[in-house]
Symmetry: C2
Subunit: 280 residues, 2 copies
């Protein structure tokens, strides 16, 4: 099964457009785990267990493991996901971006070492920095396109007079990913949730690509507006998939020992909001 | 001492503009180490020992360690560099690019875990994806600006009509790094060696920033043209530093047991070519 197939199946089986982002910060763990970097796996595994039937994907953010020398815990966590949430694809959030031989090493890191089904990438170095990932048939690769952080405008919102139609840089990335770069149908795009009009614009330019949309929850994006702007359906079939990520609002829904139950409640609420927007 | 001070001192003490890039691929190691990922540290340490007095910096590329679960070997390698090459700064080639809280984790990875003096970054997500690194006073951060891989043009060479003067994207990055983004004088730029005219253009826009220039050696960049385009001197003082990287041409100068001696000879030759271009 390809990543896209897995994503469609998990979206359908769990009636969910929600991705839980695993950005584990030991300083925010409940008291019995707090500031203990050796318990990152355990914290995340509890979140996975509590939300496995509510999500279309999990998205571990590698920086939070690397800062704590905890790559081995990430390896174990992905293995745990395979048992606790079979069929739910794993998107490694790494935002790698490098050329040929080095990109090949990062592809080994993401797909072989960590066993991810998809990875996030930066498009700044161009097609040959993306192409090595596409040789892994069936794996997915989400390119940064339009991010909603304060500096997102600095480069992404600049207008390109040297490209036909004078698109903004992020529009150009969306077109490349929908078209010439998407050799085997493996590409998706990362688009922030803060500005639904920009999600809609990316969807217009990339009608069939899966959109990974962070920023719902703690970062303030609106779930309903996000779904309406990004999801495309034909009847019951999803023709333009979305993967709506929430991290902190779920991971840290409670600072107490009930953190996993609270995470489930937060995930359930967001899952249902997203689902209601879909059918509403 | 700041990264810039270390770089200036090592450049002077070793009469060198050469950076040796450590991209260790066990498949290319000599027979007694070949395909043995547990010997990555040993291979690299031998290269460090053989070139310590010939370089202005070392640049380990993290992907080659991560693909082999060898982060611990990278930690030991940096510790070895501190003993074998005291005063030579270490640039971690990681090309990270992420927002706020996540960038902070990557900064911990680079500067605390691996003990690097500088790191390479992608500017695609804008200023707030760079700023967390600048809070580490004295550390350096090289932003991807103009890369000479085939896809380097895809985004970097597009013209921005929405920015005053209608610069190309890479020219815009150079201006931002020389000016408003460079809060504490910590920024540098990555510029490929293949097109000296573009190095000269970046130097024009960023007269004082250190330029990290990969691509001399195996990738075909011309050493003399690179120095003339990038280095800026006032008398004996370097006012526009360059760090000219060579990786494969040095690491794999010989496939035999004489690999370290051959690496030294290759590094010596390139060091001398770069130095001759400086004074020529």
């Amino acid at each position: 099964m390809t990543f896209i197939d897995q994503l469609q199946a998990a979206t359908r089986d769990n009636a969910s457009l929600l991705c839980v982002g695993l950005d584990p910060d030991p300083a925010k763990f409940p008291a019995h785990l707090k500031n203990d970097a050796s318990r990152i796996h355990d914290f995340c595994a509890a979140i996975v267990d509590a939300t496995a039937d509510l999500v279309c994907a999990f998205k571990p953010q590698i920086a939070y493991f690397a800062a704590h020398r905890a790559e081995d815990q990430l390896e174990r966590l992905v293995a745990h996901m395979r048992r606790a949430a079979p069929g739910v694809p794993v998107i490694l959030d790494a935002k790698r971006g490098d050329i040929g031989a080095t990109a090949e090493q990062y592809a080994i890191e993401a797909f072989e070492r960590f066993g991810a089904d998809a990875v996030t990438l930066s498009p700044f170095m161009g097609f040959d920095s993306v192409e090595p990932y596409l040789r892994r048939h069936g794996k997915g690769a989400f390119l940064l396109c339009r991010t909603s952080n304060p500096g997102g405008d600095d480069l992404q919102a600049q207008r390109l007079s040297s490209v036909a139609g004078q698109p903004l840089l992020y529009e150009h990335v969306a077109r490349l990913a929908q078209g010439p770069w998407n050799l085997n149908g493996q590409l998706g795009l990362v688009v922030g949730a803060t500005y639904p009009a920009e999600i809609a614009r990316v969807r217009e330019l990339a009608p069939t690509l899966p959109l990974l949309i962070p920023g719902v929850g703690a970062q303030g994006g609106d779930a309903t507006a996000t779904v309406r702007a990004g999801l495309r359906l034909q009847g019951d079939a999803i023709t333009g998939p979305i993967v709506v990520n929430s991290s902190r609002a779920i991971l840290y829904a409670s600072a107490g020992d009930d953190f996993a139950a609270a995470a489930r409640q937060a995930a359930l609420k967001t899952r249902d909001q997203l689902h209601a927007a879909r059918i509403g």
